[in-house]
């Protein structure tokens, strides 16, 4: 096998959007039969883009700016549609990041495998299933009836059934617990050896890379260096998953240029900086108490319990983090605190007085003092109004300053969040992602609040920008004596800047990972 020509050779490949920003920095690699190559790098460095380019698929509006991809002696970018289909159908199999959604929900496991199998006989299909450790009775199940690990193995079986020469895997272990992860890595090793498969997998999990990769290729933050603007946001979702793959992503070995200001602690060193809490932030009695919150959503007869008796205490002047896996209910918890989601049961108390669950029922003063900073990519700012108009509105609504002083106050607010005063005339689409997040924080500050509830303010921002936004919040907290609640799935980022981190699992606050004081969580 070592003498056979490499099935995949990528030479000096660079992929960029027609409108400019780079998705993948110049990269070269060579895959070999029977060996596993790992692809690492921070989120936005183009791992997915590279994998998909190998099967001749580019994101919408993107093109190869230089270099070439040679797969089994063919230039995939120049292949005719028919030949490309044959290549994908018989020789190169790609398994995407989220196999659960990539499996047709209406087909049984057997049909899903048979559809692509080189040998469609029942015995052959059973052999493939056995190889991927899928029990035979599962053949009659549809993907919805399988667990996450089984879905992943089914996707793998579907890929292997066509007996490919090359296997491309995008984050094959993301979101799996340790046992399943080891299971999958062992399976990959075995398959690569048994079939002489050339495997390349994108992964941000150093343990997986260490456990099964023969060689490692680290990508630079190619796309990440480009400003996050309207253009980058227009990318199809799969090429830039909003933060999911970035979960707990430790910056790649040395190559990742974390160009954060020197004064800020790097996100990775979270554990070292025991507390980034601000001097003098005394935890006075009072604050926000939430007790026994239940929230359930019913859709088409299925009830999903987002919060199951969640409770927590947010002391005045504290910085509290709320974290947990996706779907654990952390955003629901924050929206409940903000009065946007009315819980079925439970109560809220604010400085010793009951706080109505519905934001509209809260007093003017409560509405002013508690401000909500929404998640960034989902339209944090009204695209049809200028930043100035967006900032003026809360000033007017809560009569913070007299009408003649409005423009001056808007300028002051923009400066407070580190934006130039003339941004008041701009529309949101003329700002970068980080700038929009700053403007959104400025809107929340306009009412001179006591409590800021921030929902995933750093998702969809590149690491350097995310750090800068969090530093801004930390600084504002000190300057304005704010109480801060940060919801994020990025534990390391949050932990470095908060006093207490509450971990949410399946709608329950399971552990106040207290640093200095244990908060009640009953």
């Amino acid at each position: 096998m070592p003498d056979s020509p490499p099935p995949v050779t990528v030479t000096g490949l660079e992929i960029g959007l027609v409108s400019g920003p780079l998705l993948l920095r110049r990269t070269s690699l060579r895959l070999h039969g029977g060996r596993i190559t790992a692809l690492t790098g921070p989120s936005g460095s183009g791992k997915t883009t590279l994998l998909r380019a190998v099967i001749g698929e580019l994101p919408q509006g993107a093109r190869v700016t230089s270099g070439s991809i040679d797969v089994l002696g063919q230039d995939v970018m120049a292949l005719a549609p028919g030949a490309l289909r044959t290549l994908r159908r018989r020789h190169v199999a790609y398994v995407g990041q989220d196999p659960g959604s990539a499996l047709d929900p209406r087909m049984t496991a057997r049909r899903l495998i048979t559809e692509l199998a080189a040998d469609a006989s029942p015995e052959a299909v059973e052999r493939v299933m056995a190889e991927c450790r899928l029990p035979t009775p599962l053949a009659h199940h549809r993907p919805g009836a399988l667990s996450g690990g089984q879905q992943r193995r089914l996707a793998l079986a579907r890929a292997l059934a066509r007996r490919p020469d090359v296997l491309l895997l995008d984050e094959p272990t993301a979101g799996l617990d340790a046992d399943l992860r080891d299971d999958i890595t062992a399976l990959l090793r075995r398959l690569a050896a048994a079939h002489g498969l050339a495997v390349i997998m994108a992964s941000h999990d150093p343990q997986v890379v260490e456990a099964c990769a023969d060689s490692v290729i680290a990508l630079d933050a190619g796309g990440g260096a480009a400003p996050y603007g309207p253009v980058a946001a227009a990318l199809p979702a799969q090429s830039r998953p909003p933060g999911r793959s970035a979960a707990a992503s430790a910056p790649a070995p040395a190559s990742a240029p974390v160009s954060a200001p020197a004064s800020t602690p790097a996100p990775a060193s979270a554990s070292a900086s025991a507390s980034a809490s601000v001097e003098g932030a005394t935890t006075a009695p009072g604050g926000l108490y939430a007790d026994n919150l239940h929230v359930a959503f019913t859709h088409r007869g299925h009830t999903h319990h987002a919060l199951v008796g969640a409770g927590l205490h947010i002391p005045i002047g504290s910085a509290t983090g709320i974290t947990g896996p996706s779907g654990c209910g952390k955003t629901t918890l924050l929206r409940t605190l903000a009065g946007l989601q009315v819980p079925q049961t439970g109560s809220l108390t604010w400085n010793g007085r009951p706080l109505p669950a519905n934001a509209r029922r809260r007093s003017r003063d409560q509405q002013r003092r508690i401000q909500f900073v929404p998640q960034n990519p989902l339209g944090a700012l009204n695209p049809s109004r200028t930043i100035g108009a967006t900032l003026t509105r809360p000033l007017r609504l809560h009569r913070v300053v007299a009408a003649p002083d409005l423009p001056e106050r808007v300028g002051t607010l923009l400066e407070a969040v580190g934006l130039p005063r003339d941004f008041a005339r701009r529309y949101p689409h003329e700002l970068s992602g980080g700038q929009r997040q700053r403007a959104s924080i400025a809107r929340a500050l306009a009412t001179e609040p006591d409590l800021l509830l921030c929902d995933e303010v750093t998702s969809a921002l590149d690491p350097a920008t995310a750090t800068a936004v969090l530093d801004l919040l930390t600084r504002l907290r000190a300057e304005r004596r704010l109480t801060l609640v940060l919801v994020s799935h990025q534990l390391d980022l949050v932990a470095a800047r908060t006093d207490t981190v509450h971990l949410l699992r399946a709608g329950r606050v399971v552990r106040p990972a207290a640093r200095r004081e244990g908060a009640a969580s009953a």
């Binding site: 979702a237 002013r368 339209g379 944090a380 009204n382 609504l397």
Partner: protein, 282 residues
Amino acid sequence: MTTAEVSVRPRPRRPEPRVLAPVVPAVLLLLVALAGPLLAAHPVDKPVTAPYGEAGASGALLGGDQLGRDVLSRLLNGGSALIGSALVVAVVVTFLATLLGCFAVLGPRLGRLVERAADTAILLPPVLGILLLALAWPGGGRLAITVAAVLLGVPYAVRIVAGAAAPVAATGFVEAAVASGERPGHLALREILPNLRATVLALFGLRFVDAVYVISMAGFLQLGPRPPEADWALMIRENGPGILLNPWAVVAPGLAIGLLAISVNLAANALAPATARRAALR
């Protein structure tokens, strides 16, 4: 997907010339139809030739109708009322639907009511609805037809606006405004509405086409305009028996309605972005 689009879509700039091309025929046709009465050579109610007189005879370029009146003159006169009432219907329906739709996404109760109203309205085909109202309101004429078209159009249109407004209502800026204590009026009209331009435009186009359809159907069923008024749809009905003698008396108004409907629909299709169009279809 839609939410992301809402947040990043640049404000619409000047449309490209290519987009404007399909709009030209619609505008020309509307102008001709509205200015038609000024161009007509003969009065609409005086015979100038034999009944179903051949085209070209006694100065009647398209021949005569069942009473020998000039088809061309009646054609030029017969569009303005149809287009006028269709415009009124389209404007009123779009206005009401936009207003109701923006508020419907803020309150679950109004939202449910809108859904139910649309579910109910779907059971009444527009033609039957118009028959019903025209009968229940004898002598209502054009006004009855216009009111019926509005009543029948609104429930459906509100659902479309509400469907487009729902993702906007779920965006961060609306949530932040709700948490900050903004009143529903401000939320609906200042935060949500300005982001629905494309949908409202697409809706207006479709409502106009629909109004032309409904009103001309009513005219054909002799429910709206009364003889001797000139009306394209009525002309087709009146002159139907003589189609073998002077086909133009039927074909010309048929062509006029067809061209009007198609050109306006294509124009609306070109002006509204694909996403808004698809949403407006449902």
